[in-house]
Amino acid sequence: MENHEEHHHPPYKFIFLILIICTALSWLADESKQMFPGKGWLAVTVLAIAAMKASCVMLYFMHLKFERHWKYVLLGPTFILAIGLPLALFPDVAVHYYDVDVPQNPAENREAGNYHGEAASEGHSVTSGHR
């Protein structure tokens, strides 16, 4: 087992703590979104945290940091192909050359005091009593 003989001992406990702290930060970011209006920062923050967590898992828990160059050969084409589908879909699905009419936006509706707001004060649901 030469690969075991060459075994490195990453700081697993330290990596684990970083992952837990990052998870807590994601949750805190979600909790504080009321204090900081705007949705862009939240998406950027939590996805950056997710990318950092993913890097920690891949590099240390999956040992990619200590593997040889085969990892690039094996995973490089995979990632290129993986992003192909979203890129192909993007022009048709995510880019609009016209105004999208959204007949009802739940958030706006609540702000207007219609339906959701009223339902909230009345117990919400016929079957369960809450939504």
């Binding site: 967590k53 898992v57 995510a94 016929v126």
Partner: protein
């Protein structure tokens, strides 16, 4: 698995075709390569769909997404990933008993993850956040509520109906309803009367509420386009508006209030059909049915307060959500496939745990490869958690 020695006693390094890793590990990484493409297709398409769908339901009040549950599950998976790493370390250190215990901890956490996921799924089904079930506009919401209320009434009729002695042919539900109402008129005993009166109250409320909803021959429901029904509703509506305008004009003449956009007439007490016709002029296109549905819900709640009815009444808050069905489809697709991967990981761990005290060095590569697989399952959840539970793109 072992690559040591070439059998000739030479000092030259052993020759090995391919990569300097066990074949099983290479296979696992190749498999994980396909898995990366598999989940990236889902996650990438989901992101593209969300960006292209302004108004995508992202408020937990609408979607019943439990951020705390997702966060706890993230913690659970990370901890399990850590334990599987420690298990592999213990295997390399030849402490197989310790490795078994860490693996058992990983298995237990996988059960916890699925348990929390089950609670979330139960909430989705309980509120009918299911693909194809979600009303996306007010018309669909009204139709859905009408259908569910009608089914509740029919279920109550089916339960209360007793086939008369000597009769073998079971009648259709419409006939059963008529028979039950006729039975009430025939002065049944006290207990039976309580049941039948509750049934009549429910039936009457539905009949008066859903003038514009009809039941089709195939049992489905749709909005009634009968001109007579619509005209009748419209006439009642016009009368209500005139009454309202007359009241508003009095206020202006008397100088007691500034001329302003009149508030909608009081809709309480009007039938659902009248309300449906009444509201668009005052609230504009889009939200006109919301107060109507809210009012209907309140009426249904009154019905449900009757314990005789509550047993049979199963209707959901129709809660219109644009893109709600796409949301539910993508949610269940991604979390469902992820949960299947969790179960497969548990099977792999189960094979290791089944060795008990016989766990030995032969299982080192298996534990390492199972761990790689489990870390990948963790990786997928690391991205699903913010994307499904937190992020708001629009």
């Amino acid at each position: 698995m072992s690559h040591s020695g070439n059998g000739h006693g030479s000092s030259a390094p052993p020759l090995k075709m391919g990569l300097a890793i066990p074949n099983s590990k290479l296979c696992m990484w190749l498999f994980l390569g396909t898995e990366i493409m598999f989940f990236t297709a889902f996650i990438g398409s989901y992101i593209v769909l969300r960006i292209g769908s302004p108004g995508w339901p992202s408020d937990p009040k609408d979607t019943h997404i439990l951020v705390l549950a997702g966060g706890i599950n993230t913690f659970v998976l990370i901890l399990s990933s850590y334990l599987v790493v420690l298990s592999h370390e213990a295997m390399i250190g030849k402490d197989y008993r310790k490795a078994w215990k860490f693996m058992a901890g990983t298995m237990a956490l996988a059960f916890v993850f699925l348990g929390i996921k089950s609670v979330e799924y139960y909430g989705k089904f309980d509120h009918d956040i299911v693909p194809g079930h979600i009303a996306e506009n007010d018309e669909q919401a009204l139709t859905k509520l009408a259908r569910e209320c009608t089914h509740s009434r029919d279920a109550m009729a089916e339960a209360l109906y007793v086939l008369p002695e000597g009769q073998t042919k079971v009648p259709e539900v419409i006939q059963k309803i008529a028979d039950l109402l006729a039975e009430l008129d025939a002065s049944p005993d006290a207990d039976r009367r309580i049941q039948l009166e509750a049934f009549k109250a429910m039936h009457d409320r539905l009949s008066s509420s859903f003038v514009l909803v009809r039941t089709n021959a195939d049992g489905t429901t749709s909005l009634n386009s009968d001109p007579a029904a619509i005209k009748s509703a419209r006439d009642a509506y016009d009368a209500a508006v005139k009454q309202h305008e007359a009241v508003a004009a009095k206020g202006v003449v008397a100088g007691t209030e500034a001329p302003a956009a009149p508030a909608p007439p009081d809709i309480v007490g009007l039938s659902i059909a009248v309300r449906r016709e009444l509201l668009p002029l005052h609230t504009g296109i889009g939200h006109e049915l919301n107060p109507l549905i809210t009012g209907l819900l309140a009426e249904m709640r009154d019905s449900k307060s009757n314990p005789q009815i509550a047993r049979y009444f199963h209707a959901h808050d129709p809660h219109p959500m644009v893109y709600g069905n796409v949301f539910a489809s993508t949610y269940f697709l991604m979390t469902g496939f992820h949960a299947i991967h969790v179960v497969i990981g548990m099977i792999l761990f189960g094979l290791v745990l089944a060795q008990g005290r016989n766990l030995n060095a032969d299982w080192i590569d298996f534990v390492e490869n199972s761990g790689l697989y489990w870390h990948f399952v963790d990786l997928v959840w690391i991205f699903l958690f913010p994307l499904l539970y937190i992020v708001e793109f629009s």
